[in-house]
């Protein structure tokens, strides 16, 4: 069974979507490690190391996603989990910015998949299946 670490990054306490993601992924047959809200980059990485996770899925709903996520790929490399898949989604930037620009920025930061606001987890499931090979 593939393991996915999920959580809400930064000073963000949006807990509802986090629970929906946990529910959906578990139902789809993944081992979900939910580290909850107010999580730091290190919390995600530590959990991924201990659980030997295949993917880290970062949620950010309050607009500060860019600042909170910067450098997470570098830290993964330093921590020996350089090959882990990184997903991010939610309201990852403030206001109505052109999403293609936002996506480019996050891909450059080392994320494998970047989702715009309004996408539900069900829509991401296919990507997850493709990427994890199941």
């Amino acid at each position: 069974m593939k393991t996915i670490v999920i959580g809400v990054i930064g000073a963000d306490v949006h807990a509802v979507g986090n629970k929906i993601i946990e529910y959906t992924l578990t139902k789809s047959g993944y081992n979900v490690v939910n580290i909850g809200v107010l999580s730091s980059q290190e919390d995600f990485i530590n959990a991924a190391i201990e659980t030997d996770a295949d993917m880290i899925m970062v949620s950010s709903l309050y607009g500060h996603g860019e600042i909170d996520c910067r450098g997470i790929r570098d830290k993964c490399i330093e921590s020996g989990i350089e090959d882990i898949l990184l997903y991010v989604g939610g309201n990852i930037v403030v206001g109505k910015q052109d999403f293609s620009e936002v996506k480019k920025k996050f891909l450059e930061m080392g994320f494998n998949r970047v989702y715009p606001p309004g996408i539900s987890i069900d829509e991401a499931i296919n990507d997850i299946k493709t990427d994890l090979g199941e």
């Binding site: 949006h14 201990e50 309050y62």
Partner: protein
């Protein structure tokens, strides 16, 4: 006849406590120097003679049980994977089992770490790493490394269950002294103490006691059942929770300031508030922390070490002492007993520093986080603010003329809102130094142990409490 003799073979003193389990009474207590280097029996016999002298006659005992922290106590190395997760979990298990955690390692072990394990004469290694189904590569590497190095001391494996079979093979391959038990952290931030702790205690009884020269006395006594700190933890738990229809005291904190360490025990949940978000590894309900750099004699220099030069100068000027000189004097003469008011004053001051610092490290923290959704509270560690009682034990507190001042240091005297220290506890004193003994008794006769503790652990001497408050 229902007389029990409870013995605590401490690093410095062998302490005896005789109780009548039918009348719920302490018959007498006595102490003499521990003689583990020669024959542990010598010190024991001397203490026993003193005890009979106090009671006024020789009495027979139905059972004689002992706990021990002699010959350096139980020295352990805690090995895990990530510092904040399995390393921390492993450390807490060792402390909960009454051990001294001399070495803490994370990720892959290297040669110099292996050498430290040998050099420091570690008694037991706790090897953890990986949640169940998680990382097994690191623990397997570490077990292999320990095997190749020819480590023959007991190793308790309490890591990822998926790696258990492979670990077992490694144990066999190198004919190591390996023991398998449940994972200390089966899932992220979930703490599972019991299985590994019981295994450590079992090994302590079967193998360590003998190596510490305590076996010599086995013909004289019924059994040695616990490392001393774990006896105190058992006593604190019983006193807090109560037994059957005999009520306990509720949430408590125990402060034990010794010559080499300051131990803190808290028996309470991690939080009662619903408006905080708790982060980090789950906290044990009965938690013990040990500060190896805070103590009255062996570790006295540690108290000053963390101070800046400016702070030291301030203390010297403010109190009219040479604090560095005083701690070194205590370090060089660990048997020093205060002879005059000056010595008493210094010991009092050092004890206050130990209590303050130890609580600073034991208690949880709360921070305000400003979010677009308003202010939220983020808590790490245990919230002790609602604790009912702070109990003092250990020679320096028991003998102090200002017990209140020492115990008060565990509360929030500096009004730091981020530290979750006890808010307004009542202060109790273990005047007759019976907590370790009662922890032992609690394993055999919990009701008796509880009733005796409730009777003998008394309020702080009233006059000093009133005047200070």
């Amino acid at each position: 006849m229902a007389n029990y003799l409870l013995i605590d073979f401490g690093s410095t003193f062998t302490k005896l406590c005789a109780v009548d389990t039918e009348k719920y009474e302490i018959l007498g207590t006595s102490a003499d120097f521990t003689t583990v280097e020669t024959d542990i029996n010598d010190g024991y016999q001397r203490a026993l003679t003193k005890l009979f002298h106090k009671i006024g006659k020789k009495i027979e005992f139905e059972q004689i049980v002992a706990c021990s922290s002699a010959a350096g106590g139980l020295k352990m190395a805690a090995i895990g994977l990530v510092k904040e997760l399995t390393v921390e979990a492993a450390k807490r298990v060792c402390l909960g089992a009454g051990a001294k955690v001399d070495l803490v390692f994370s990720h892959h072990l290297n040669q110099s770490e292996i050498e430290q394990i040998i050099e420091k004469k570690i008694d037991i290694i706790l090897l953890a790493g990986g949640s169940d189904g998680g990382n097994s590569e690191a623990v397997i590497h570490n077990a292999d490394k320990l095997g190749k190095a020819g480590i023959k001391i007991p190793i308790v494996y309490a890591g990822n269950k998926s790696a258990q079979d492979r670990i077992n093979e490694i144990f066999k391959e190198y004919s190591m002294n390996g023991h398998i038990c449940e994972n200390v952290m089966p899932a992220i931030n979930v703490l599972n103490i019991t299985s590994a702790r019981e295994k450590i205690r079992e090994i302590f009884l079967k193998q360590i006691i003998e190596a510490k020269g305590i076996k010599k006395i086995e013909s004289q006594i019924s059994q040695v059942i616990l490392p001393t700190p774990s006896a105190v933890l058992e006593a604190a738990k019983l006193l807090s929770e109560g037994y059957l229809d005999e009520e306990g005291l509720g949430e408590i904190v125990v402060v034990d300031i010794g010559g080499a360490t300051t131990d803190l025990y808290s028996i309470c949940g991690s939080s009662k508030r619903s408006d905080v978000i708790i982060q980090g590894l789950e906290e044990p309900f009965a938690k013990r922390t040990v500060e190896g750099d805070l103590g009255m004699r062996y570790s006295a220099p540690g108290i000053v070490k963390s101070l800046s030069e400016r702070e030291i100068n301030y203390i010297n000027k403010d109190k009219g002492v040479d604090i560095v000189n005083e701690v070194n004097r205590r370090y060089n003469d660990v048997k020093l007993l205060p002879e005059n008011t000056h010595d008493e004053f210094i010991d009092q001051f050092l004890a206050e520093m130990c209590a303050y610092r130890a609580m600073h490290r034991h208690c949880g923290r709360i921070t305000e986080v400003l979010t677009p959704m308003g202010k939220v509270f983020n808590q790490v560690g245990k919230d002790l603010s609602e604790v009912n009682y702070v109990i003092g034990t250990g020679g320096v507190i028991i003998n102090s003329k200002k017990q209140y001042e020492i115990l008060r240091q565990t509360t929030n005297i500096l009004n730091n809102p981020t530290e979750l220290r006890p808010n307004d506890p009542d202060f109790l004193i273990d005047n007759e130094y019976i907590m370790a003994a009662m922890g032992l008794l609690s394993k055999i006769k919990p009701m008796v142990a509880l009733k005796i503790m409730k009777k003998h652990i008394s309020h702080i001497r009233s006059n000093q409490y009133e005047t200070s408050k």
